[in-house]
Symmetry: C2
Subunit: 324 residues, 2 copies
């Protein structure tokens, strides 16, 4: 079984270890803080806990990078240069330029570099793709993920936690917007002819909500996201012959098809799943790519295109330094 | 009672005459086709049917302009120059420049020029405005109107009816998009700092569907419309404290408030109304403006701003001749 090392000990890493069960071994964890590393290792029965990144990398076959986005680029390149595959939490890096460097390094070494966008790898998402032909000519999509963050309450009380700190390359578009954006690009086309949008910035410069339009010659999609509101409406994909509604584009439990003149038909219906449960698919995709000896080029293109669109959205507010 | 003359004998004029009952008298109708004019007059018990515009205008106090958009500008100016108020179906004209000319002519003569955007003048819309403070800080809106047109079936069968003819200045954004766009501008602000969008064009150049984003410093709205798909999702307005869902932004029968953590509460609930019924409010607003002796400046600003945004959206595909 492939041996994973984990960078980062936040809740997402806990979910990851859980989702690895029966699929891969998590054999090492790295954190800058020795106590945090030890606690994580002890919690999950992981052999090695270390504050030395090189030491952790040397002990595994692949690295799961779940640090703040700002750290992804350097850590992923370090692992790739040591000959290790990388599965990097979304977004793969803090800029499209950095994403391109990671992808090029992986390709040059015959290694896999994959971004962990878990909602692209679920049975629910497969049900959506399978249903698309029933919509007839695809025309519109309105994909949304608005999730009020408990950390926003802290922010309003004067405490800026990592999740609301732009200095860590965090933003709502990268953290939440990725869930509707990547399906939009996957289903409607990775190369829209026009993209444009606007965001809401908080006083500290944190991008907290936004919307964008993806234009194509024969169809158009809107993507909306937020960490400061709680959405109540489903995502929807419209063709000339019908509509597909998706209760939650990130953690889908229900997909419904409504023909243009006819009654709704539930195509997929499962009890709400936890984010951890939906990570199994992305791990299986990663393992298949490792077996194949190369990154999936369509997924790589999605990763690059979505980060490029995010960069353009954010650059309206924060000019991006040349070196990134 | 104010005497209205009607230009145009399509279904919208039938609705208009019905909505005038008890509010104003419709005493004359103009059409280029004498038989059409006579049939309309006879159907509604209207005294005067004529193919001469000047003759019709001379016989009334105000003119309701419900011809194809391409004809609005000249007809509205003709009525205003004869000293008559004008209520012009949406959109007021085929370009912001023409809208500005109509509004300037009305202002110079102490006359009213109002665009008939019926969903801004309903009890349901008032319920939406009344509920906004409950949302807390407004952050996002996603207002949609997607209405599959039976004329699109004709279009696909090779017959281009007026409703799908761009040569008449018709477009989905003007015909349908106006219903979500004007509330978005009214509720979020008539002067967004950024607007951008994309549309879907049919083979004959007809703009048939689209989306746009309205950006503000502290909020963002998306607006979507279509004549070639049938929408199934509500419109929604999100604040930090809750969500307002609107079953149909054009013909609203249900408005629901959902607090961020709590149960949904229905704020407005009426049996679905016909478009004709929702026209009463706009007629009453027009009559009040006539009594006041001036156009409502906020409504005038909405009319101009929305047409300017439409022009920019359409100009991406059809460069607009200088003279318009």
């Amino acid at each position: 079984m492939l041996r994973f090392g984990v960078i980062g000990t936040n809740f997402i890493s806990d979910w990851f270890v859980g989702a690895c069960a029966g699929r891969a071994d998590v054999t090492a964890v790295y954190s800058r803080n020795p106590d945090t590393a030890k606690a994580f290792a002890s919690r999950h029965g992981i052999e090695k806990a270390t504050t030395k990144l090189d030491e952790m990398i040397a002990a595994v076959d692949a690295v799961y990078v779940a640090s703040p986005i700002r750290a992804h680029h350097q850590q992923a390149l370090t692992a790739l240069r040591a000959g290790r595959h990388v599965l990097v939490e979304k977004t793969m890096a803090g800029s499209a330029k950095q994403v391109g460097e990671i992808q090029a390094a992986a390709m040059a070494s015959g290694l896999v570099a994959m971004e962990a966008v878990r909602n692209l790898h679920t049975p629910a998402y497969q049900a959506i793709k399978d249903a698309l032909p029933r919509l007839g000519t695809l025309r519109q999509a309105d994909l949304v993920k608005e999730q009020y963050s408990s950390r926003y309450d802290a922010f309003k009380a004067g405490e800026v936690l990592n999740a609301f700190d732009p200095a860590l390359d965090n933003s709502a578009i990268a953290d939440i917007g990725v869930y509707p954006l990547q399906p939009a690009l996957d289903l409607f086309g990775v190369g829209p002819i026009a993209t444009h949008g606007s965001s809401v910035l908080l006083d500290n410069g944190f991008e907290a909500a936004g919307s964008l339009v993806l234009g194509y010659p024969d169809r158009v999609a809107t993507v909306s996201w937020s960490k400061i509101t709680a959405g109540v409406t489903p995502s929807v994909i419209l063709g000339e012959d019908g509509a597909l509604t998706i209760d939650d584009i990130a953690e889908t439990s229900r997909v419904t098809f409504t023909p243009r003149s006819g009654d709704a038909e539930v195509l997929f219906d499962r009890a709400p799943v936890s984010p951890g449960e939906t990570m199994a698919g992305e791990i299986e995709s990663f393992l298949a790519q490792v077996d194949a000896g190369a990154s999936d080029q369509h997924l790589a293109a999605l990763t690059l295109a979505s980060r490029r669109i995010m960069d353009a959205q954010l650059a309206q507010y924060h000019p991006m330094p040349d070196e990134r």
